[in-house]
Amino acid sequence: MSLLQVTNLSVYFHTRNGTLKAVDGVSFEVEPGKTFAIIGESGSGKTVACYSMLGLVPMPPGKIESGSVLFEDRDLLTLSEAELRKIRGKGISIIFQDPMTSLNPFLKIGDQLIEPLRLHFAISKKEAWQKGIEILEEVGIKNAAQRMHSWPFEFSGGMRQRVVIAMALVTEPKIIIADEPTTALDVTVQAQILKLLKELQVKRNIGVIFISHDLSVVADIADKMAVMQEGRFVEQGTRDAIFNNPQHDYTRKLLAAVPNSEKSAQENKAEQNLVEVEDLKIHFPSNKGEAPIKAVDDVSLHIKPNEILGLVGESGSGKSTLGRAIIRLLKLTAGKVSFDGQDISRLSAGEMKPLRRQMQIIFQDPYASLNPRMTVYNTLAEPLLLHKIVTKKELDNGVCSLMDSVGLARESILRYPHEFSGGQRQRIAIGRAIATKPAFIIADEPVSSLDVTIQAQILDLLLELVERFDLTMLFISHDLGVVRYLADRILVMKDGKLVESGSVHQVFSSPQEAYTQALLNAIPGKSLFTTESKGF
């Protein structure tokens, strides 16, 4: 007996620019105690499919064209807003993606937690509070009775997501929709949250609809799954069937895009290091009376020419700060940074300018790293003119050849950043970084905000450019799979210190530090690779 039965659901968006078939004839079932995963890239309609069942899609422009959603013998699509409100949060709860924004920052945890209880059940505040404490304990929050009085900002990201899960569970729903619940979390925290979800689900016999773009996460948690593309389920079946024997081309493409190969080791025989960092410290002042925050603490490293050095660590480990400090975007507290044999740690901004040409950076978020009011042409022309790479006469050709190098169509030269997709924007940012023909590039999580197939394309582009322009790269990432695919050598960073370094093979096959082991264990989708014996 299934809990929820979705039959032939179609949701279209009617806009001025035509009709968008966001969800197009989708059918699936959710069983108690089982997880049904919907996987797809952003814009594939997976969120709309789930939210439309609960009337959470704005209509208009959205419109449910056909289908039925049976839940407790009622068709949700025919219910009124008032009836739906009784089901939302009580029968079916949602866990949202970003725990930083899904909690109200001005309400204490306890008050938020008991809100759905008081809304859906006739229950006194005292009883509700007691129940809140129990559920907080159940999701693994210590000192729950005291923590009920805490504010959201007093919790870390992982803890907040536990609170969000507690909020979803407190009304004892039959079904939980988990909308990318771990995408915003670090890899070790993600592993904990996934484990927690699985435990609670089995214990309470809840049906879970798990929305994700990350195949490896789904591999760990799903019982059945569907692959969604442009509003349709292109493939649907049990987890094992889909992972071991994918039928549809798109599924195969998705599976192939998961970076799971290891870069073949090459001996780097260069004598001299391109970048050398000695005892680098970056401290940020904190509140008065407290010790300064040691974002980077006594780090020494070297990077050889033509090497890709992977720097991994969780958020807050100081890896981005280290990267920015190496190219002097931040003030150094102490220590020395040398570039091509020259000590650059005390150079003034004017003295740095000629060197800026040699070192560039690619940022994580291609939405924030491009000036929204400059066309691609102007964005790419800026470095070319600033460092006199080309004359004004040759500028058009210079920009066009850059666009070719990063695989952007020349027709789009006069467009603004918002007219591009995330992957294309990242190509623009890469184009800007290689415009000055630098020797050294820092790539700060350049693919972590991209979909998996796009991610694979961008990684391959980076590898190609490294080869073609003899680049040296510091590749910063929290994703070990990506680093393994790309890097020659790996550094592991924790709390501002380097805890482990070595060749990719060494670190992956015999990690020395407990922290590195924990990171490796937390990589989602290990089952995915073992079933296909692709490594690990």
């Binding site: 790293s369 491009l370 000036n371 800026e382 600033l386 058009d396 027709e411 006069l414 467009r415």
Partner: protein, 297 residues
């Protein structure tokens, strides 16, 4: 825009001006309301510039036999209580009002945007010192400031513009500073720094263009403000003195005689409000045109 036309590399005829401003102009031209506003403002401007030659009478010429007369063939908009032609006085008044509005606002824009952008970009102690200075100026009672200026240097139009501008820039500086502070955190600014751009280039090319929305909105609010301030100062005897005129002055006299001679209020009021309407249309249009996201579906 040439977004849909393909660009052949051999005959790459790149429009040389693909700057934000050229692009904005192309988009503004498609906005009918904004173009109407611009056209109206230009018409008013030309009329005011040519006033000495086209005005039917002199602004101080009195015809006491008429007194305050309603519109007639000789006096299209009627005359005021001294028998002076109202159309002429509105035209002459427009010269003063527009000049005050635009010059004082330009002063406020120039100082406010520069000051705010520098404070926001520099941050830290520089920012704190610069903004405390703004706070101190805020705290000065500005009426006394202007009265002092007028008393010391005598009644002087240029001084009046500067004095009003010197007050209006404070709010502009605050708005720009907070915008720049937010923008400065964005990665594209960091990217510009890593390219080796100088702080001035970063402020001019990357920060101010992205702060234009609020700047334009506040500017369109400042212009009428300044015009009304001039009327108030003139009313106190610190600005323009009769027989010279300004729209603000005409309106405040119009209010006094509203019951007997309504046209003395209606026509100057219409002149001011239509100009402000046109200005707002243009301002809205400019804001949209300068935001690449807003203007294309």
């Amino acid at each position: 825009m040439a977004t849909s036309t393909s660009i052949d590399s051999a005959t790459l005829a790149m429009p040389k001006g693909v700057s934000l401003w050229d692009d904005a102009w192309l988009r503004l031209r498609k906005n009918k309301l904004a173009m109407f506003g611009l056209g109206f403002l230009l018409l008013v401007l030309v009329l005011c510039l040519l006033t000495p030659w086209i005005a039917p009478y002199s602004y101080e010429e009195q015809d006491l036999r008429l007194g305050a007369a309603a519109a007639s063939a000789e006096h299209w908009l009627g005359t005021d209580t001294f028998g002076r032609d109202l159309l002429t006085r509105i035209l002459y008044g427009g010269r003063v009002s527009l000049l005050v509005g635009f010059v004082a606002t330009a002063v406020a824009l120039l100082i406010g945007v520069t000051y705010g952008a520098i404070a926001g970009y520099a941050g830290g102690k520089v920012d704190a010192a610069m903004m405390r200075f703004v706070d101190i100026l805020y705290a000065l009672p500005f009426m006394i400031f202007i009265i002092l200026l007028m008393v010391v240097f005598g009644r002087n139009l240029v001084l009046l513009f500067l004095a009003i501008g010197a007050i209006e820039w404070l709010t502009m500086a605050r708005i720009v500073r907070s915008q720049v502070q937010n923008l400065r955190q964005q990665e594209f600014v960091e990217a510009a720094m890593s390219l080796g751009l100088s702080p001035v280039a970063i402020i001019v090319k990357h920060l101010i263009p992205n702060a234009l929305g609020p700047i334009i909105v506040y500017t369109t609010l400042t212009i009428p403000n300044v015009m009304l301030l001039e009327a108030f100062l003139s009313f106190l005897g610190l600005g323009i003195q009769p027989p010279e005129s300004s729209w603000g002055l005409l309106i405040s006299y119009g209010v006094e005689t509203m019951e007997e001679y309504p046209w003395l209020l209606i026509f100057p009021g219409l002149a001011l409000s239509m100009t402000l309407f046109a200005l707002n249309f243009l301002g809205d249009g400019l804001r949209d045109a300068l935001d690449p996201k807003a203007s294309r579906d």
